[in-house]
């Protein structure tokens, strides 16, 4: 099919292009370590640092908490951070898709609460098999999201209003489902066991964490090398081997240290494993499939996407369905934290924190810019603040103030770098 879709071969008959393939004004990186350094300096000045500012912010946050309470970097606390970020993180993943469109979904928290109630009433009240109930619950979330998407894409109601109406309506439905009982205890089995606080990868075997780390590192290395080979063969620019090695080593250090630390207490929570696997899949979908490309296109310019023949309405509906599905999955994760469907599920700051995670991680609210890893980075920041403050024994009112201040500070690092970027004309 690739042959059918191009028409430039006949154009190749024309005299050799008058232009050299490489623009002389493009600053090419020098070879070796010095080249990295100059490029890094240049990127820093230009504000093209990607996730680095958030990572720096995270390191600062960790350092400060560790200085305040030496338990912060303890294995048990790290396991807590990793475990508890997965539920809200799932909501954030769905939101990344919506944010990439330049839209918002205010219903995710309330859909997550509803999902817990649906799951509980199916499996507890109606005795449906636990796995079947999981599937039905996620389908409910997807259906709800598709309904939001329909009203937004086809009727033209702003997504903000549709999902605000959903936020109210699904809260009502959830309360109505639980009206007789108030809360329902979910059994610690099936998927819900896997999502629980006491479920660890490979049953807490030390090997588990290292296997995961090795898998990740190997995937990066092999993927990079294959890409390099293909690019070299095609004659287009490729990442030098030195850079591939630097990146692989960086990931390896992070992954093995994490594995070691988590292993010191209980290992890798299964909830985290599922969360990471989800991120890998979603990243693939967004960066390497036509669907993902279309999502970015619609987020960048609706009109350009439409004129390129993209079915904008369909993309919107699918994206909202994805968001609804992830909200339901997140709801199951959160229910797995307490084994209960309660009237309070999905209330509080859940919505705000999920959005904040995506945004802090670097996904733009204005569409077209971001990636799913921002859900991970953002949740790490947020969960670290929460867990850290919980350790510190502080008055709740002060906790609120500190959370606000740290949230702001975490993004200031990023924003200052982006500001440089804007003033150098890239906004």
């Amino acid at each position: 099919m690739s042959d059918k879709t191009t028409m430039h071969q006949p154009l190749d008959e024309v005299p050799p292009p008058a232009v050299a393939p490489l623009d002389p004004r493009l600053l090419v990186r020098e070879e070796g370590f010095k080249g990295y350094l100059t490029e890094f300096k240049r990127k820093m000045k230009g504000g093209e640092l990607g996730s680095l500012p958030v990572i720096v912010a995270l390191i600062i946050i960790w350092t400060i908490f560790q200085l305040k309470d030496s338990l912060f970097l303890s294995s048990a606390n790290m396991v807590n951070i990793c475990y508890f970020m997965a539920g809200t993180g799932m909501l954030a993943v769905g939101l990344v898709f919506v944010l990439l469109l330049g839209e918002i979904d205010l219903s995710v928290a309330s859909v997550s609460g509803l999902a817990a109630a649906v799951f509980a009433s199916l499996s507890v009240t109606h005795g449906v098999n636990a796995w079947v109930a999981v599937v039905l619950t996620v389908l409910t979330g997807i259906a709800i999201g598709a309904v939001h998407g329909f009203f937004f894409a086809k009727i033209g109601v702003p997504a903000f209003v549709v999902t605000l109406a959903g936020f109210l309506g699904w809260t009502g439905l959830m309360q109505w489902l639980l009206r007789g009982t108030g809360s329902l205890t979910i059994q610690d089995k099936g998927l819900l066991h896997v999502l629980g606080q006491r479920s660890f990868f490979m049953n807490q075997s030390i090997a588990g964490a290292y296997i995961l780390a090795t898998l990740g590192v190997a995937a990066l290395l092999i993927g990079s090398l294959i890409d390099q080979t293909r690019r070299r063969a095609a004659g287009v620019p490729y990442r030098p081997t030195s850079e591939i090695l630097v990146r692989t080593i960086a990931l390896a250090v992070v992954a093995y240290v994490a594995a070691y630390v988590l292993n010191k207490s209980a290992g890798v929570p299964n909830a985290l494993v599922i969360f990471l696997a989800t991120l890998v899949i979603c990243d693939f979908v967004l960066r390497r499939t036509t669907f993902g490309r279309k999502v970015f296109a619609v987020g960048g310019s609706i009109e350009a996407a439409r004129r390129a023949g993209i079915n904008v309405a369909m993309i919107r509906i699918v994206v909202f369905a994805i968001s609804g599905g992830f909200a339901a999955i997140g709801g199951l994760f959160l229910a797995g934290q307490t084994y209960t469907a309660t009237l309070q599920a999905g209330t509080g700051n859940l919505l705000m924190l999920a959005i904040a995670a995506a945004v802090i991680g670097g996904t733009s609210l204005f569409g077209g810019r971001g990636n799913v890893w921002s859900a991970l980075l953002g949740m790490l920041v947020i969960q670290s603040i929460q867990t850290g403050l919980d350790l510190l024994n502080m008055d709740q009112s002060i906790q609120y103030m500190i959370t606000g201040a740290v949230l702001l500070a975490a993004v200031v690092v990023d924003s200052v770098s982006r500001r440089t970027q804007r003033s150098s004309g890239r906004a």
């Binding site: 099919m1 690739s2 059918k4 879709t5 191009t6 028409m7 430039h8 006949p10 154009l11 190749d12 024309v14 292009p17 008058a18 232009v19 393939p21 623009d23 004004r25 493009l26 890409d227 293909r230 690019r231 095609a234 004659g235 287009v236 620019p237 693939f284 960066r287 390497r288 499939t289 036509t290 490309r293 279309k294 970015f296 296109a297 987020g299 960048g300 310019s301 009109e303 350009a304 996407a305 439409r306 004129r307 390129a308 023949g309 993209i310 079915n311 569409g367 077209g368 810019r369 004309g425 890239r426």
Partner: protein, 262 residues
């Protein structure tokens, strides 16, 4: 002028279009044959881009019929036009600022390899395609937002050439182009004609129009205002049809300059 077939590949019959209180097009007729380059000219706001957009499915016509290879068709969405084989370069370019050059070129018809995007091949072909259009772009991996006006314009033109169109519509394709790039685009138009595509070319530049077009259609205040074979028509005749008067700013300016040099 090359020999043209009897049934036009694309024909508009009595097309009208209104925006709110503005009647942008009234009963417009247009025919394009395979292997023919039709120039569409007219004053600013004459309705040229509106006409292009109705053909391209950006907004449906209010009244009138669009015929494709003799059959009447309904073009309600851009997909419909693309399905027929109409490729369009819009005056406002319509590129996604956040995607890079490759992403924009292949948007909507990405190349796949084992089900995932084949970035390597797309990147390779993009470079080749842009080189044939004599444009220097620092890298095909930088977002469109950081390209110069002319660079974007070339990307938009290149975009229209991916796929197998039967009719190519170019709405002021050379407006932002340098002399060399303009020459390349004119060459390109001629190659399209040789490959027996229908071409609609919109331009304000009479030199370009007379250089490549077979027929010139003039639009004035949303209505047809004459069609001229390029051979045997003077620029002055066309300009008079465009401005609706033989006494206009152009002629006055020419007269003044002539006086001044005397």
């Amino acid at each position: 002028m090359v020999h043209v077939s009897a049934t036009p590949v694309l024909a508009l019959r009595g097309v009208s279009k209104r925006f709110g209180a503005v009647q942008a097009l009234t009963d417009v007729e247009l025919e394009v044959h395979a292997g023919e380059v039709v120039a569409l000219v007219g004053d600013n706001g004459a309705g040229k881009s509106t006409l292009v957009k109705t053909i391209a499915g950006v907004h449906p016509v209010d009244e009138g019929v669009i015929e494709w290879e003799g059959r009447s068709v309904h073009i309600n969405r851009p997909q419909d036009a693309q399905g027929l084989g109409i490729a369009t370069v819009y005056q406002d370019l319509a590129l996604c600022d956040n995607l890079d050059v490759v992403g924009n070129l292949y948007l909507g018809r990405e190349l796949l390899r084992y089900g995932s995007l084949d970035e390597v091949t797309m990147e390779k072909r993009s470079r080749e395609l842009l080189n044939t259009l004599s444009i220097r772009i620092p890298s095909v991996r930088i977002p469109i937002a950081s390209l110069s006006g002319g660079q974007r314009q070339v990307v938009a033109i290149a975009r229209a050439l991916i796929g197998e169109p039967k009719v190519v519509i170019l709405d002021e394709p050379t407006a932002a182009l340098g002399v060399e790039q303009t020459a390349q685009v004119l060459d390109l138009v001629e190659r399209l004609r040789e490959r027996r595509l229908g071409v609609i070319l919109i331009s304000h530049n009479m030199a370009d129009v007379t250089a490549v077009a077979d027929t010139v259609h003039v639009l004035r205040l949303g209505k047809n205002n004459g069609a001229f074979p390029v051979k045997g028509t003077t620029n002055e005749q066309i300009i008079a049809a465009i401005t609706g008067a033989t006494d206009n700013a152009v002629t006055r300016r020419l007269a003044r300059n002539a006086e001044a040099t005397q």
